[in-house]
Point group: D2
Chain length 429, copies 4
């Protein structure tokens, strides 16, 4: 493992860094309740459910009656949060957590979240999912007024914006409202001050954010609804784009105060949900802005079957991402749905590379055909997207070697035409 | 981690040890080829494919022109075999590997396989899947003649039986043939001497064992057919119960000599394949003794639908074990197949235990309902077996909380009535 | 291992934190040379030599033609800098390093040095040994002007002071000169900008700092002279209290420009070297401000022998801290010097605690008497200080059990009467 | 890390293996007491004291009322025995332990001791220090009678010899007495059966072995006397060459029965203590066969001063091995003893290799001169031996660079003329 913090010192600061190096695809989680308990475990369970949103690093900050204690490290939730590290975190009424997606080269310790800073009015812990489009401008302005940066992430910029406003504001919520008005781009935020838990969703609603309530009166905020149930919380609703929720330990029942309608932005109906949430990022059992992710994918499969039917014997999805659409395709077309490919669930991040004289390849090691399903059949193969054509080509050859007579590849997502600046990492290779 | 080797010293030796402590559920793999190459990587890939048969420990022994080199440790294949540990293994024409299943308390280093011993005629490496029923008798007899045991596994007993016969035999194959005639119970063996690779399947064929051939002329032996393709080998056939295959580096094309028909046992058609291989152990993409595991499970689902139909709206399988049968049930009943439960693939062996004040549970953290599929529906829920009633009950309550109107639980395997002494671990709790 | 970052949020910020929690006892190192090379290894060797000044954490920042790359972690130099982590650091002409001393509870990752920050004019890496007495005042003032803090260390305060001045200065050296005029207390600093390496010693010279030159023209700055030789540098001189040295890659021979005499402080002869450097912190083979540490300790032993002679047969030092003084005592008194206690060099940071029914203790496990030296003898026992009376008492009983007839304990350092605020950690237990 | 178990399969077994690959330099320890307690911690402390005898691997076997539990691994005592691994070992009245020295290439897990085997009459755990000269003959004979070997160590041969005799003997002590009569070479053994602890020293007394008694009535056996005190045991005496001590839990006070005088060998006065124990292996605070190791080295220094005097100003020892002799040289010659070289105690097994453009070397990183002691002086430099001339040459050049005017190298051990077959590893490089 290597934990290199690389920075590029150029005249005028960091603006020459290509955008894709500072993007963030992540999951955020927060909980606040009426009693002191092992909230770190609750956050841990929530982060398990959000792990698909980021596997590089994770962290939890617990608020122990105003004292913040954190554990943050590179690795999966189950690796970072052992009984030993959990034992090092105090009990409390409030905590937040974060999982972070890792991009090539940027696996820096200093970018691990939640970020935790000390400022003139106390402490602030912040977990962020999204990508600002004006981060470098804000960074420049902050540096001109004396700010120094320890990380390359937008998150530190947001911390500065909020804590600077806090100097001039009566409350943390007033500071956040002011600060986020300067932010452009995608941001779902979960924050913690000494006595309050705050959640903010950007005015265009790029990234999901929802909240729910447990039977004991605790409130939970999470990137996806699938993370509510694991801590026993019933889904209440998504945050409206441009909304801020403020939960306080001083409110007897922890019930949130909502700030929307002209607080962050003008009331509007424009929403820009990221299509990749439905296609790829989110878990199928999540419901985002009232729409089931699984249902969306099934429907995409149904439309695909209508628009691009195939004379075939069986419908097979590429696991795991193509399975939902395959079910839709099968249902619409009337063809039988089958398990034609089995994914090896033990091939993880550590991987034995094939030898130079290799007679095998990575795809074959990860995906295995079910011969009895494929042999002599005309197969409709469904995937959600074509990331690299080579993989799709290899899967097709695997089906062919397993005896498939015809293979009809169908992709459930539309073609990707333009780059995105709001937090989707578009690799160049 | 704790690596305790516990043994119980009682009058008369080890015979008072309960059977279930010395059982073995495992996967074996071997490869032999015409040229010297990084065979350790091939075995590693094969073990990836067999990982579902054993997650406690694994090992590889490479035969470097008569010199044996091993790496064996506790952990998953991807954890034990890193680039660093693979670099410590030599190239060679032959190698064998093993994955081992861990039972409570018995995670002993000294039981890690393949076993590698030195005897009067050279070295022997042996990988074993199965469970002998006369192991303690054999052990007693061996101890009376001066044998000492480093482990509690049947494998060491088999090593002794073979090496003792080797003293009196002209060849390793003659020694193996004699030795296995004394073994009672289940055993699929892959062995290696200085110049030969041997594979043996017990006369009743309890455990699977098959072999195939790569384009470069290498031969591969493996517990399941799914492990052949990952190294580019085409399936040839299963070993016949009571058969031994002998591959030699001295044969120009490595082609095996087969010993069956009265070599190990009288020619017979009695076969006792372990039903659990089809129900639970084997991977759905494997074909054992000519029968597709996936197909078997689908058929069980079909029969289930005929015998126990249900007036319902949707068929849902418990992932991963119930999915194949659910497809069969859906196909037979005409009800739509759906993904109603999503399994968290990141919750692995390290697990954050819920706190004492827990408002959640392990099942909920691992399995999440897809509301849009379940709400308001009459659901047929398919699983392969009921291991603990509590889990099934909890899954039903999760479906109910997700809005299922009716839930019809259907189990695709027959009831378990008698204990098994051939290598299936029957927990007592 | 637990890596908890704890902060206390109180009205008015951090000023209620007791001083001893933010102290720093450390070692700093820097190198700059005419050619690009594996400077990280040089710094690693330098940190080995300074390891006695701090065992909690360490770090290296390499300047790769303006790009900074760091590796910093908890642990000893030999644990943190493996071939693997060194391979992750680039070559360069300049690098700095730091070892940090750990105090109870404060083993925070965010306090690991060198600190590396981005500011309006580029990057700054900074390694600090010392303790400011006005850190909290400076911190308050910085927070009032919008600064946020990620750590609890003085180092971040110094970074802010310098980068704030940098906004208004033409050069990094001008900024440093202005900034350090605001600092009160002890500080030896080694810093790096894109093109310069800077070293500063506070006006009272509390902490040591010296420099030397290698044959290839490289310059080395280090806390102690013992760290120069390990990288092949010849000692030139200590920095004068209140001096700043500036080395630049743009100077052909890297030779430093010195700023002293009214640059940082008025020219003065007041020096306040920390007595603990000579008594305890520094290595005996170091020479600080022209005085050999070993020689100082030997002389203390000589004086002790004159002032407190003892009618005895042999002089024995408590290893390792009392050995130098014991040699002095022996030489002055004419009594033979002997090795009467052997220290177990394998008992390190991980330690098997005695059981509850203990018939042994920590002192006995670490120190063992040499019976043949002690039995029947009148022993003068020399130690440098009495940290806890219990240890001294236990050592005396060990000597007695080994047969010493009389034991005359002599302590070579004067009594400790007043607390220190400049970086010496005075435990309260 | 790499844990390779390499074996060479040759016609006729292992006899072509060069002796130096199967040698053993080690430390052994055993304890037996009247009450059940955390004996694993006692053994751990004993192994700390014996760590200098072997740093490659270590292990402890606890006898929990007849059940044996072991923890054995590669690494130092403090690394292998953490609170976690100790917690995995039961309490008991008896335990034994071992530290093992590692030679190039042979760091095999299967050679880690104590060895623990099951045989017809129960369990046997055995820790061995020494080297048999007839091991391969014995091994051949055992293999011919059906024995298989898991390791390449002599220890397994001894286990076999004892357990084979046990089949024909009424007691473990009778079996051991018979078995050891066949052993030729060096062996100090500590063994454990269900109810007894046994200690044996070979008839020529090559390797040390002594025992002592704690105040609570426990008895301790150890390679060196320095390991007795750390568990609170008072030294009783060395085992006489050719003696076996048998301690039993069935004896009320655990007091041993001694078997000597014609039991193992004919009564004789021939002793062959290994000179290297006094010169190099043993700790200076140990007393072996009535002779203090420190005293021996001091005396060697005195003789050296008489035979090879030098006109000099100061005597300096190479730490740590030359210090004792330097004290003797100084005392005899009347020259002052001084600390002229400081050893870096933090440079351990992990080491940052110098870069290719190296301006430094390993010796310089490990040893640092004390200039004030050396400059302008005529120095007598004392070391115990010359292992590699290059190191001595480099030390001399370091002293010269530090200003020494003359350097007189004196070596306290006699020249090494013939190879040794009893357990001293003679490198070929």
């Amino acid at each position: 493992m290597e934990f290199c913090h690389e920075t590029k010192e150029v005249p005028g600061g960091l603006q020459s860094l290509p955008e894709h190096e500072i993007h963030e695809e992540c999951g955020v989680f927060g909980i606040i309740g009426p009693t002191v308990r092992e909230v770190s475990r609750d956050v841990g369970h929530g982060l398990y459910a959000l792990q698909h949103r980021g596997q590089e690093s994770c962290g939890i900050v617990v608020n122990d009656d105003g004292i913040f204690a954190a554990h943050r490290d590179l690795g999966l939730v189950g690796e970072v949060f052992t009984e030993q590290t959990l034992a090092g975190l105090p009990k409390g009424r409030m905590a937040i957590g974060h999982v972070r997606y890792g991009t090539t080269g940027g696996n820096s310790r200093s970018n691990i979240q939640p970020m935790m800073v000390h400022h003139q009015k106390g402490n602030l812990a912040l977990a962020h999912n999204g990508n600002l489009t004006n981060a470098l401008d804000l960074r420049d302005r902050l540096e001109l007024s004396g700010a120094i940066f320890h990380s390359t992430s937008d998150t530190e910029t947001i911390c500065y914006m909020i804590t600077r406003e806090r100097l001039k504001s009566d409350s943390i919520e007033a500071a956040v409202l002011r600060a986020v008005r300067s932010l452009e781009g995608a941001y779902s935020l979960v924050m913690m001050s000494a006595a309050k838990l705050l959640a903010v969703r950007d005015p265009l609603g790029f990234r999901p954010l929802c909240y729910g309530r447990c039977e004991d009166g605790s409130y939970v905020v999470a990137s996806e609804s699938c993370a509510l149930a694991v801590v026993g919380a019933a889904f209440i609703r998504d945050l409206v784009p441009g909304e801020m929720l403020v939960f306080s330990t001083e409110t007897p029942d922890c019930a949130p105060v909502s700030y929307k309608d002209n607080c962050i932005c003008k009331a509007n109906d424009t929403r820009c949900p990221c299509i990749f949430e439905y296609i790829y990022f989110a878990r199928p059992d999540s419901v985002i802005d009232g729409i089931s992710v699984h249902e969306t994918r099934v429907r995409a499969g149904r439309i695909l079957a209508s628009e691009f039917p195939a004379a075939a014997d069986v419908v097979v999805g590429v696991p795991d991402s193509g399975l939902d659409a395959a079910i839709g395709y099968a249902a619409q077309s009337g063809l039988p749905y089958e398990i034609g490919l089995v994914k090896n669930k033990y091939v993880g991040r550590s991987f034995i590379a094939p030898s130079q004289e290799a007679r095998t390849d990575t795809v074959m090691i990860k995906l295995s055909p079910v011969r009895s399903v494929l042999a002599g059949k005309r197969v409709v193969l469904i995937d959600d997207s074509i990331v690299r054509g080579t993989t799709s080509r290899r899967i097709i050859s695997i089906l062919r070697e397993a005896g498939a007579k015809e293979i009809h590849l169908r992709i459930s997502s539309p073609p990707f035409r333009h780059p995105c600046f709001y937090g989707v990492d578009i690799g160049t290779s």
